[in-house]
């Protein structure tokens, strides 16, 4: 569950402006004239990424989130009442309405992942990072949240960290991913056992022959 919105929190900035105005125009241009409301979702994403970019350079670091000022700015750009943007932003779990760590760990705990040991993976995260579900580390590097199924059940258990999936996890592999991230290294994305996409655990079973 993402953190709820708080309009009076001290971290809410006074104003927000898009840096990449070209991108904003490109997004608005995708929709017919008068239907600019459709641009709300990509613009929210753009705002979150922009804040994330700023956060990576800040000290302590933080990850991408959407301030109230950004939502109001988007409402302004799309020419809709602010509440229309608030509705969308609060509905989707991927829009963060409060600051998060630079690495947002979204651990799946839905049935298939849980059967494959997601409880251990979560425990590892909590122990390694010294935080509980929904909390952020003091250095601002990690936030841990629980999510429902992210659709990678074949490679369960898995977590999503920012834009990337890390699959086929266990205690050791989870630790190594976290260590790499703490050290500023980019861990291998995807399966941590070297499995390609969602092929069978025993290796490829079909399409073995090279195509002519």
């Amino acid at each position: 569950m993402k953190k709820p919105f708080d309009m009076y929190a001290p971290y809410q900035p006074e104003s927000f402006a898009f840096r990449d105005t070209g991108k904003v125009q490109e997004i608005l241009g995708r929709y017919p004239v008068g239907k600019q409301q459709s641009g709300i979702m990509p613009l929210l994403d753009l705002a979150q990424r922009q804040v994330g970019e700023d956060g990576a350079k800040a000290s302590p670091v933080y990850g991408g989130w959407i301030p109230r000022a950004a939502m109001d700015e988007i409402a302004n750009i799309c020419n809709v009442p602010p509440i229309k943007v608030y509705e969308v932003a609060t509905f989707y779990s991927m829009y963060n309405l409060a600051p998060v760590g630079k690495y947002l760990i979204q651990a799946c705990t839905t049935t298939p992942c849980w059967l494959c040991g997601s409880a251990d993976v979560v425990k590892t995260c909590e122990k390694e990072l010294g935080i509980h579900m929904g909390e952020t580390t003091k250095d601002g590097l990690f936030t841990l949240v629980e999510v429902e199924c992210l659709g990678a059940c074949v490679n369960a258990p898995m977590v999503q960290i920012n834009d990337d999936y890390y699959e086929d996890l266990n205690v050791e592999r989870m630790k190594s991913v976290l260590n790499d991230l703490s050290a500023g290294k980019q861990p291998t994305v995807g399966s941590q056992t070297g499995r390609k996409c969602s092929m069978a655990l025993s290796g490829a079973t079909t399409l073995k022959a090279k195509s002519a």
């Binding site: 919105f5 109230r68 009442p81 509440i83 229309k84 608030y86 509705e87 509905f91 989707y92």
Partner: protein, 686 residues
């Protein structure tokens, strides 16, 4: 025109009619929560499920258009089971607090749970609780009761034009709110209570006061503006408990504004409930009997030069009392009378010059609207709602001359005063083109335009402007005056304006200072202008407001909920208000007081009951005799040619919550002013 069968009855309906509407035409009742006649269709409550032959699943009838050869069943086993399932889901998180809920007894959920609810719950988990929202002094929220039908969201968005509410979060956390703290700054917010099918939004001043089945319901007419909204007054004993709107498609549809709904607590405060006579020695007002009060007046009038007697009729006067007062004045032989106590100058001799000629409902036929010196959102909220409805439908061009305002729809701001009218007439402003190209242009002129010295000249100028710009043509009259007071058009219709050689409002008030007026009769007339000390003032009305303080004799009258009376709305439609409760104490219906006064004066008026009085009115003013008919007036010349000053127009009403004596006495309206109008708002100074 699809033809379909509903429960084996064939019906042909217009393209686009939903199954729910078609079923309703045949008299089949379909339960619903989110669907509302006047709002868009989100189909999110799923209560209106029906069976359609061939469809694999039950179908939400509110959102499914009737199709050719469809076979619909509204009462089968499958339908009943599906609705029971929906009801069970809705009740999972709905609290069982009906005994302490104000909606109890008139709750859609309660009613439909009787038809579709299980008699016990299969749900053992905890129910969710939702934090209540602060929506101001009019609407109380108990958000835990909300079933997320989103009617309030759509009402605020579509009808009121204040899109502040939304459905936030998702799943179990979904709730109605504003996310950021925000007041619903709408003049129509009371209707949120009506559209809410459960007890989530309820009437705050009425909270825990009464149960719906204890109330005596009287269908009557609202007098807080000149729209003449149809309302229902719910009373218990001698007390008006609440006011609800009643459906009238041509006037208020099914809405009413916050003033008519919530100002009723003003009916209980500051009332005049006994006659008063000023003691000549002490100079203080003293309680008196009716005989003494009437005799005092009779003695004074007998001593006075008849040409020095004047009368003013106020904003809440009904037609009957105005006619009775006019008859008394005619018997005395004085020409000094006026009903325009806001000091407006316009030509009252031509009816088409002072009514809303187009008709409120016909605004929907307009394809271009020009507002002159008015903010209809404040002056006549439901006219504004009608303009907004038309704007939503066809995005028609709306132009505004006068004070800039947030009208809840997009408009072109043209200018501040008469010079903008000239700019339009000469084609200098681009909006002139839009008016000329329109088939049915409508122009709405506010009372504020005439509340200045050159009002008469402006009236004439507006007449010529309307003809020149094509607002008035064969088969279409788009010239409209937006009145702000309920009693005004009726008083104008019966000719309560200065007769030959008579003085108008300004001269009468001056006359009390310079000795031209010795006796002044105020019928429900309250105004801020001070009166001279030498004149003998008689005040007849229901509230002891500013003018009553000047009075030498006070005659306690009845408020609009306490009398049978006729009011003519701004369109020239006569409507009859009914008595919901009796007037307090010694107060009496206004025409009866005047009838008694005429006897004291020695010339009894020739009517002893309301029937004869109405016959008398019908004889001279036949258009008032037929209730609820909009009597149109022929287009004629009006106004008086003269110089017009290029000063900006000012709106007649600034403070929506404080307009007449009833709203001034209302604590709820005072709370609204505090809450909704910002601290330094100039609107606060009424």
């Amino acid at each position: 025109m699809p033809k379909l069968k509903i429960n084996d009855t064939e019906i042909e309906v217009a393209q686009g009619t939903s199954i729910l509407q078609a079923a309703e035409m045949l008299g089949y009742e379909i339960p619903r929560f989110c669907y509302h006649d006047k709002l868009s269709v989100p189909a999110n409550c799923r209560m209106c499920l029906v069976e359609v032959k061939g469809a694999p699943k039950p179908v939400a009838s509110c959102a499914m258009a009737a199709g050719e050869n469809m076979e619909v069943f509204t009462g089968t086993e499958m339908v009943h089971k599906a609705r029971k399932g929906v009801m069970e889901f809705l009740l999972i998180n709905h609290p069982l607090d009906c005994p302490i809920c104000d909606q109890g007894g008139e709750c859609d959920l309660q009613d439909q749970a009787v038809g579709y609810g299980y008699d016990r719950s299969r749900y053992y988990e905890s129910k969710r609780a939702v934090k209540d929202k602060e929506l101001g002094p009019l609407v109380k929220t108990v958000m835990t009761r909300c079933i997320q039908c989103t009617r309030c969201v759509r009402f605020a968005d579509e009808i009121a034009g204040t899109p502040d509410l939304g459905l936030l979060n998702r799943g179990e956390d979904a709730e109605i709110g504003t996310l950021v703290e925000k007041m619903i700054g709408s003049e129509l917010s009371g209707n949120l209570v009506d559209v809410c099918p459960v007890g989530a939004l309820t009437n705050k001043p009425y909270a825990f006061k009464a149960r719906s089945w204890e109330l005596r319901k009287t269908e009557t007419i609202d007098v807080h503006d000149a729209v003449g909204s149809n309302i229902r007054v719910d009373a218990r004993g001698g007390e008006v408990m609440r006011v609800l709107p009643r459906l009238h498609e041509e006037i208020n549809e099914e809405w009413t504004n916050d003033r008519s709904r919530y100002a009723i607590d003003g009916l209980k405060k500051g009332r005049l409930d006994t006659p008063y006579v000023r003691n000549a020695k002490t100079g203080k007002l003293e309680k008196a009997s009716w005989e003494k009060a009437l005799e005092t007046i009779a003695v004074k009038i007998a001593q006075t030069d008849k040409n020095k007697i004047a009368a003013l009729a106020g904003d809440l006067c009904d037609v009957e009392s105005v006619v009775a007062l006019k008859d008394i004045l005619d018997n005395l032989g004085t020409p000094h009378r006026d009903c325009r106590i806001d000091g407006a100058h316009f030509d009252a001799s031509t009816r088409s010059g002072y009514i809303f000629n187009t008709g409120i409902a016909n605004i929907e036929q307009a394809d271009c609207i020009l507002l002159v010196g008015t903010n209809p959102r404040v002056e006549a909220t439901l006219v504004n709602a009608r303009i907004r409805k038309t704007w939503l439908e066809k995005r028609l061009p709306v132009g505004l001359i006068g004070e800039p305002a947030d009208l809840t729809y997009k408009h072109t701001y043209i200018g501040v005063g008469p010079d903008s009218l000239q700019a339009l007439a000469s084609g200098q402003h681009s909006f002139a083109e839009k008016i000329k190209n329109a088939k049915n242009p409508v122009m709405i002129v506010g009372m504020g335009v005439f509340q200045r010295a050159d009002g008469l000249a402006l009236h004439a100028q507006l007449h010529d402007f309307a003809e020149k710009m094509g607002f008035v043509k064969d088969g279409w009259n788009g010239f409209n005056i937006l009145h702000t007071e309920a009693g005004r058009v009726g008083a104008l219709d019966v000719g309560f304006t200065p007769a030959t050689n008579g003085m108008d409002f300004a001269h009468i008030v001056e006359g009390t200072e310079n000795g031209k007026v010795d006796v002044l009769f105020l019928l429900n007339a309250d105004f801020a202008r001070a009166l001279g000390d030498n004149a003998f003032v008689i005040y007849q009305g229901h509230h002891g407001d500013s003018s009553a303080a000047h009075a030498d004799v006070i005659l306690p009258g009845a408020a609009y909920t306490e009398k049978e009376a006729t009011y003519v709305n701004m369109e020239g439609r006569a409507q009859i208000a009914k008595r919901a409760v009796y007037a307090p104490g010694e107060a009496r219906e206004d025409w009866k007081i005047l009838r008694a006064l005429s006897t004291a004066l020695g010339k009894p008026l020739p009517y002893d009951d309301l029937g004869t009085l109405r016959q008398r009115i019908a004889k001279e003013f036949p258009h008032i005799a037929s209730p609820d008919v909009r009597v149109v007036a022929p287009w004629k010349q009006f106004g008086q040619a003269g110089a017009v000053k290029m000063e900006p127009f000012h709106n007649a009403v600034r403070n929506f919550y404080k307009t007449n004596v009833i709203t001034k006495a209302s604590a709820v309206m005072t709370a609204c002013v505090e809450k909704f109008l910002s601290k330094n708002d100039e609107r606060k100074a009424a």
